[in-house]
């Protein structure tokens, strides 16, 4: 099902024309209303009329999270505060939070792209949407909320936490669509199993999962444990929140709502634009946003783009499932390591569960990588040698995939912390020294 066929199935030429027009208007707005951008554009000799095509994006300055922090809280807003109807902020793990603002029209845009997202996952007005993303300053809860209301579904705004109650209400209300982080969906599945409940005790049929990277294998686990269709959704508060891109049931990449958010892929080191198909950092220009328009915002998410038409009929550019974050990337003995690669290794083995913790340290000036893996009843045995073999196998598979040697430590089930929000997968002790 397609919410906005006119846009989502638009031919390339028409889409580019729309993007060009919107980009031109956006450049005008930021040039005249945001001193930060006016200065940046003047520095490179650009004046508003110079930009007529999205092909010129590559010559324009990039925006980073630091720019948002430096202009904390409202310095990059392009409208007077009287036009701002909402502010959200991301948790600032280091220093100040990142603040984003919305005009009434921005909230309409958000509802539109989230309506597309939920429709893409198969949701209709007949669905009961259980929203276990956090509400509040975090954009997850309210973003899905707007989309679900717009399509006319029944919204359960339960927010995060209190897992027992979540399960009970999901059962009693007959929720059909679950919206939360992928790791929380597994946490819910485990809690359901512990209470002796089966997927058939629920009416769930699909889930829209995002806000953290997750693998294909984790999808399989979620789909089998909850007996649902698991759809990957993508977004970040700086761009709008959830609703930047979403998969359709073909699960072959996420359709980017590029009439609002123009994507590019750049090399995170040289900052040069990369062609379709190459892996790099995803960058967005938010051409319709009023309160906080961002020019070439660096997401730090790693992926690649394709223009191939999807079987669902959408012509929108697609991004591959995020492969990790350029700033989650660990450099261990000079090798780039993404935590998601280790997750893939564990899940492909089918003898382990996707619960792992990476501990990176530096001993005698040499980086060390320790991987904690939980032991599971399914592959656990009474013989030491079988467990030792398993450990060697994990070690071998990780080494061949990452090109870095690792020590594997088998730990008891549920030793590794399950979060109700984003999963903590890495402890880098090198930063503490």
């Amino acid at each position: 099902m397609i919410w906005n066929e006119h846009i989502e199935c638009m031919d390339r030429e028409a889409m580019q024309k729309l993007q060009n027009e919107r980009l031109q208007k956006m450049i005008d707005r930021i040039y005249f209303n945001v001193p930060f951008y006016r200065k940046k554009l003047q520095e490179i000799g650009f004046t508003p009329g110079d930009v007529t095509s999205i092909e010129q994006l590559k010559d324009l300055p990039l925006t980073t999270k630091d720019d948002l922090r430096d202009n904390y809280p409202f310095g990059l807003f392009a409208v007077p505060q009287s036009e701002v109807v909402r502010v959200h902020a991301s948790s600032g793990t280091t220093g100040k939070p990142t603040v984003v603002g919305y005009t009434r029209k921005d909230l309409d845009t958000w509802s539109e792209v989230m309506a597309r997202t939920l429709t893409s996952a198969g949701a209709t007005k007949n669905d009961v949407v259980h929203i276990a993303y956090g509400y509040g300053l975090f954009t997850g809860g309210l973003g899905v909320h707007y989309g679900a209301e717009k399509i006319g579904a029944t919204v359960i705004p339960i927010s995060g936490g209190n897992t027992k109650r979540q399960i009970q209400l999901m059962k009693d209300f007959g929720s059909t669509i679950l919206a939360c982080t992928p790791s929380y969906s597994l946490f819910l599945a485990e809690a359901m199993a512990e209470e002796g409940l089966k997927p058939s005790d629920f009416k769930l049929r699909a889930g829209v999962f995002g806000a953290e990277p997750w693998t294909e294998e984790m999808r399989k686990e979620i789909e089998s444990k909850l007996n649902i269709l698991a759809i990957d959704i993508y977004g970040l508060s700086e761009v709008i929140g959830p609703g930047v891109a979403a998969e359709c049931p073909h699960k072959k990449g996420l359709h980017i709502y590029e009439d609002h958010f123009i994507p590019e892929i750049i090399d995170p080191v040289t900052l040069k634009v990369l062609p379709y198909g190459e892996i790099g950092e995803l960058v967005f220009t938010t051409v319709t946003k009023q309160a906080l328009p961002l020019l070439r915002y660096r997401t730090r998410d790693l992926t690649r783009l394709t223009l191939d038409k999807c079987e669902c009929g959408r012509t929108l550019v697609r991004m591959e499932k995020c492969l990790g974050r350029s700033d989650d990337m660990l450099i261990i003995r000079g090798v780039n390591v993404f935590p998601s690669q280790i997750e893939s290794v564990l899940l492909e083995m089918r003898e382990t569960r996707p619960h792992y913790l990476l501990i990176v340290d530096r001993v005698n000036n040499l980086d060390t990588l320790e991987v904690w893996v939980e032991v599971d009843d399914q592959f656990f045995s009474d013989e030491v040698k079988q467990l030792e073999n398993l450990r060697k196998k994990i070690q071998y598979n990780i080494e061949t995939t990452l090109g870095v040697s690792a020590t594997i430590k088998l730990v008891e089930p549920k030793t590794i912390e399950r979060s109700e929000g984003k999963a903590k997968r890495v402890i880098d002790k090198r930063k503490l020294k």
């Binding site: 009843d377 045995s381 089930p413």
Partner: protein, 142 residues
């Protein structure tokens, strides 16, 4: 003659074995034999208890990784060569022992819990050679 053995995965952390024994005590489960195999990072607690099903369920609920498998328990004379004679029979019949643990019952005999690669054949061979085996019903409720 087949006896159910429970194996519990234990991390090498202070108090893990105490925790298992506390859970068994609180659930009124009695152990009749146990051994621990240890490595640098983890240990395997293998035990025979009077109610293996209850022990399995209880420990699983407490979050432990549990494995149930089959072992044999034989009675050998508590004297020089007592274990040798039994093992010699197994070796001559091409049965390999994965591990075993033993304890003396009184001064006359010893019980030997034994895990081999072929449990049915082990029972058959030992019985044919008049080695006394402990019945499951003597150890626990079935």
């Amino acid at each position: 003659m087949i006896i159910k053995q429970i194996t519990v995965f234990l991390e090498n952390k202070k108090g893990r074995l105490t925790e298992v024994t506390r859970i068994l005590m609180e659930n009124n489960i009695n152990m009749s034999a146990l051994s621990i195999a240890d490595t640098a990072d983890f240990g395997l607690l293998r035990m025979i208890v009077d109610d293996p099903n209850k022990a399995e369920k209880t420990l699983k609920n407490e979050g432990f990784a549990i494995h149930i498998n089959e072992v044999v328990c034989m009675i050998v004379p508590d004297e020089p060569g007592g274990l040798y004679r039994a093992l010699d029979i197994l070796t001559k019949n091409d049965i390999s022992v994965e591990y075993l643990y033993a304890f003396s019952n009184d001064s006359k005999s010893a019980s030997v819990v034994i895990r081999t690669d072929e449990i049915e054949k082990t029972i058959e061979v030992l019985q044919k050679n008049q080695i006394k085996l402990v019945k499951a019903s003597q150890l626990y409720k079935i």
